[in-house]
Amino acid sequence: MANYKDIINSCREKRGGIIEAFHALQAEYNYIPQDALVEAARVFGVSEAQAYGVATFYSYLSVENRGKYIIRMCESAPCHVAGADAVIRAIENYLDIKVGETTADGKFTIELCECIGQCQATPVITINSQPVFNVTPEKVPEILDACK
């Protein structure tokens, strides 16, 4: 595992690049660990409170640990009318957790999100930001089983 200080340092040349650093941290840890948040604030010369404010503003950033696979269900109107509700229920049932929770084995976290710009193939979910198209409740087990 890469050291969080190295990850943050790799972004330090980017002016105002704390969000880029957060992305890089999440690519490694799936969330922003506390020590890393404090370090990022120091490196980018902003107060700790501000860094925390930034990290909690954006819905793709998380200051809490999440699963290895982050499943996001698009809930926006085009996916909504295409049956997003049924899909999310199927995901919840299959994993036996609710939206916002992580499975006990730390493998899956379910989140809701807004439109991800793949509306040619609704309803859409993403798994670690990779879109999966035309999802139906029937396809859910197969899709999730493919996550090793």
Partner: protein, 405 residues
């Protein structure tokens, strides 16, 4: 008249979008060459004359926007808005996936016009693969020498619709919470790191190479006179062909939906269409013969916005759809100003109540009152537009609400 007119997407899938060489082979970077040979003022005038208006929603004349940038400022920035957060919209992604070099060329043309050496593309966090594509495209363009000394950096958003608002976008590039700034000062005068900054949409930039290469008159002659050019629309909802089309701006909504779109899915009847994304008005059948250009849409109380076309068939429950939309705005409000932070929350609360059959006519009055105040008093376009879907459906589909009360 209902045919596609592919200008931006003319070479879609025929060239590798990352490759500057491919692009040059089909005539790319000629516009930039032309721009560089022109006097800055003449260049801005040419863009003004083409009538190109912003494709990001506000429809502002692009050349005019550039002309506000003070020439004497030592540092200026060109920023491309690739936040594309409006639900049902994916045309900027398509432009990047099919013709990324045109975007880069457009940004460099703008850089030439305002004498800026640095561009930023702010790409939404939902498109990490587009970020990669763009980084490669920039590498290729720099290697080919096409961009000259104009540099472009890609920054990634992190899931905030409000960051599509130009000043919130600037805040986000600066590494801050994506809260809109009050205007004035406008970005053209005081933008990124307080330097004059032009923010344009992907599609706006991508129109520029052809305008320069073919001349302002050519562009001004396409589509609607007051909003010339083509527009990429994305069709979603209950539509046969749920895909994207590039059309001249004088096609009618009816043509978009029934000719290109193949009509309502499964042979059902049409109920309503929402144009411009989730912040747009819902339009009833009787207004379908309107052209899609900015002003025509405005005349029926709607907006072209991002060019999203979201169709609902006769069986759809509008109140339910609008309730879902009200959740979107509650989720995406930045929380800076009172009317929107509290207003979007209460709109959602009341909509859920009405949708669940517990509403009263008093609730509808409250929705309308809140809608009015949010439109009048919210700080940015998000809070001002959030009530529009509610207001427009109460206007055109009141019976659907009353049925639930």
């Amino acid at each position: 008249m209902a045919e596609e007119l592919r200008v931006l997407l003319q070479y879609a899938d025929q060239i590798n979008p990352e490759s500057a060489d491919d692009y040059v082979k089909v005539g790319g970077y000629k516009g930039l060459e032309k721009a560089r040979s022109m006097d800055r003022k003449a260049l801005i005038d040419e863009v003004k004359k083409s009538g190109l208006r912003g494709r990001g929603g506000a429809g502002f004349n692009a050349g005019m926007k550039w002309s506000f940038v003070p020439q004497d400022a030592p540092i200026k920035y060109v920023v491309c808005n690739l936040d594309e957060g409006e639900p049902g919209t994916y045309k900027d992604r398509i432009i990047c996936e099919k013709n990324a070099q045109a975007l880069l060329e457009g940004m460099a043309i703008c850089g030439t016009a305002i004498s800026s050496k640095q561009g930023y593309i702010y790409c939404r966090g939902e498109y990490p693969f587009v970020v990669e594509l763009l980084k490669n495209a920039i590498k290729s363009a720099k290697a080919s020498g096409a961009l000259g000394d104009f540099d472009i950096e890609v920054r990634m958003g992190a899931g905030a619709y409000v960051c599509g608002e130009e000043t919130a976008l600037i805040e986000s590039i600066e590494g801050h919470r994506g809260e809109p700034r009050f205007k004035p000062p406008f970005p053209g005068v005081e933008g990124l790191w307080a330097a004059p900054t032009v923010v344009n949409n992907v599609e706006t930039f991508a129109c520029l190479p052809n305008i320069l290469a073919n001349g302002a008159e050519w562009f001004a002659g396409i589509g609607a006179t007051r909003y010339p050019g083509t527009k990429i629309v994305t069709l979603t909802g209950d539509i046969e062909n749920a895909t994207y089309f590039e059309v001249p701006t004088n096609v009618t909504l009816r043509d978009v939906i029934f000719t290109l779109g193949g009509g309502v899915k499964n042979g059902k009847k049409f109920k309503a269409v929402q144009v411009g994304g989730t912040s747009g008005a819902f339009i009833p059948e009787q207004n379908l013969d309107t052209q899609i250009d900015f002003d025509s849409m405005g005349s029926i109380g709607a907006a072209l916005g991002s060019g999203a076309v979201f169709v609902l068939d006769e069986t759809r429950d509008i109140v339910d759809v609008v309730t879902r939309i009200s959740k979107f705005f509650e989720h995406e409000s930045c929380g800076k100003c009172n009317p929107c932070r509290e207003g979007t929350f209460r709109l959602r609360e009341i909509m859920e109540k009405v949708n669940a059959g517990r509403g009263t006519t008093q609730d509808m009055d409250n929705l309308l009152l809140l809608s009015k105040v949010m439109q009048k008093a919210a700080l940015c376009g998000l809070g001002q537009a959030a009530p529009i879907p509610i207001e427009s459906t109460i206007k055109h589909f009141r019976y659907e609400y009353l049925r639930k009360i």
